[in-house]
Amino acid sequence: MLCAGLWVATKKIDYTWRWNRVPQYFVYVDEALISAPFDARVASLQRSGGTTIIKLTGEDGEEKTFEVDNDSLKVSENEELFQGDYLGSTSVWRFGPLMVGLWNTLWISAASSVIGLIIGLITGLCRVSKNPTLRSLSVAYIELIRGTPLLVQLFIFYFFLGTVLDISRILAGISALAIFAGAYVAEIIRAGIQSIPKGQMEAARSLGMSVTQAMTHIILPQAFKRTLPPLAGQFISLIKDSSLVSVIAITDLTKSGREVITSTFATFEIWFVVAFLYLLLTSVLSQVISWVERRLAISD
């Protein structure tokens, strides 16, 4: 029903679907034409697999070899060539902008997730510590980050910090995302730690463990297990939020999509494809986390 409705609606505005244009933006064949660099004679042709090695000898005895695809071979042995004559071409499979964008989005999200998790863990621990300075510092950080829009933070990181500290746009983007995620992760970790019954800490301390030992061996492993579902949500959000880095001209999936649209005008198709690619990333992450959850559930 929905699909039929959409079809009718697009028919009405005379939109021509061109799905066939999409695949080339994932991978494409890059053909490079090779021409003779100087007047020369073809000294020898040697086939090796799918390519032919051409050996040229110039008038002054200069020698040079080239490799071209067999079916593109334009010269024969002992043929006299002038500078600029085509010898043939080579073709290489290359990733198109959508794949490059997907890859950038993937590693930017991964890097900022890991850094965000570390920041969040440290801040979360400060948040529950007895030290009032650490506690109020972490509260200030969390409030500051949670209370301002990520888009604005990105601009501040890129235009202000990026200029003042001379950091690259990628670094600015990743740190803005990581610091943003860290604030939310910190609250999740704090909730996790506080959800562990007090008796666990007491039991660990009564066995002579220090606070640090009790945290690392007893409290955090249990808290981690409980916080996995909200952490998963947070990191899925982070993948989606990473689309905002396109505003500081990082070529992530969203920006690649926009670039492709400017050259194809296949607006509808590309946005659907971009959405699907985000969905792909987030559902893989979901699956991985639910697998970890099942692994950890053995002690339940």
Binding site: P197, M209, P221, S299, D300
Partner: protein, 244 residues
């Protein structure tokens, strides 16, 4: 072994200061089994928790094996490894198997090797009678079995003193016996034990001395025969009338 001098612990709530432990002076000899009884809210658990530093006390002194807990120089972690504690709610580590529960602190605190710790753990599990459960997670054990694991876990640290905070109060009645049996065994082996309990039978049979606490004060102390048959204090008489 344990000596408390005028121990006080106060809580401040709603502008009032409440003394949970109000001037308790007690002396516990090595190898002695002391049972603390009293109505709920009498401060017996708080007193026990002060003995291994889980509660900080307001004033007074606690000497454990000659070390003063009130002194700022005392490293509580060093004291705690000599003082085992068993809790009402067992407090086993749910993410670790029975064996790992007993091994962890031995490795982390006592710096024993894995082999040593495992050997010790198996030996203790055998002693408390659940050797076959070593690879189970705590959640799959009955309350009585969990409490016996908790006792084994505390014993694995080779403590000089064992504290029991109502170890049978969270158990189904039919499981109380198995835990008390382990504790009796421990008493016979000469462990210094301080037990907060409502099990009068245990107090009568095993205790060398009974302390009766009410409203944070140590009201009466004496041998079980004396305490259960001829208590001096009115408060103790009234309490015994209720529970016996």
């Amino acid at each position: 072994m344990i000596k408390t001098v005028d121990l006080k612990k106060s809580f401040v709530g709603r502008g009032q200061t409440v003394y949970a432990v109000d001037g308790v002076s007690a002396h516990i000899e090595p190898g002695e089994v002391v049972v603390i009884i009293g109505p709920s809210g009498s401060g017996k658990s708080t007193f026990l928790r002060c003995l291994n530093g889980l509660e900080t006390f307001t004033s007074g002194h606690i000497m454990i094996d000659g070390v003063d807990l009130a002194s700022k120089k005392t490293d509580l972690n060093l004291v705690r490894r000599e003082v085992g504690m068993v809790f009402q709610q067992f407090n086993l580590f749910p993410h670790k198997t029975v064996l790992e529960n007993i091994i962890l602190a031995q490795q982390v605190v006592r710096k024993r090797t894995r082999d040593e710790a495992e050997k010790k753990a198996r030996q203790l599990l055998k002693k408390v009678g659940i050797a076959e459960k070593e690879n189970e997670y705590p959640i799959r054990l009955s309350g009585g079995q969990q409490q016996r694991v908790a006792i084994a876990r505390a014993l694995a640290m080779d403590p000089k003193i064992m504290l029991f905070d109502e170890p049978t109060s969270a158990l189904d009645p039919e499981m109380v016996g198995e835990v008390l049996e382990v504790m009796k065994q421990l008493a016979l082996e000469g462990m210094t034990m301080v037990v907060v309990t409502h099990e009068m039978g245990f107090a009568r049979e095993v205790a060398d001395r009974v302390l009766f606490m009410d409203q944070g004060k140590l009201v009466e102390e004496g041998t079980p025969e004396h305490f259960f048959t001829a208590p001096r204090e009115e408060r103790a008489k009234a309490f015994l009338k209720q529970v016996l």
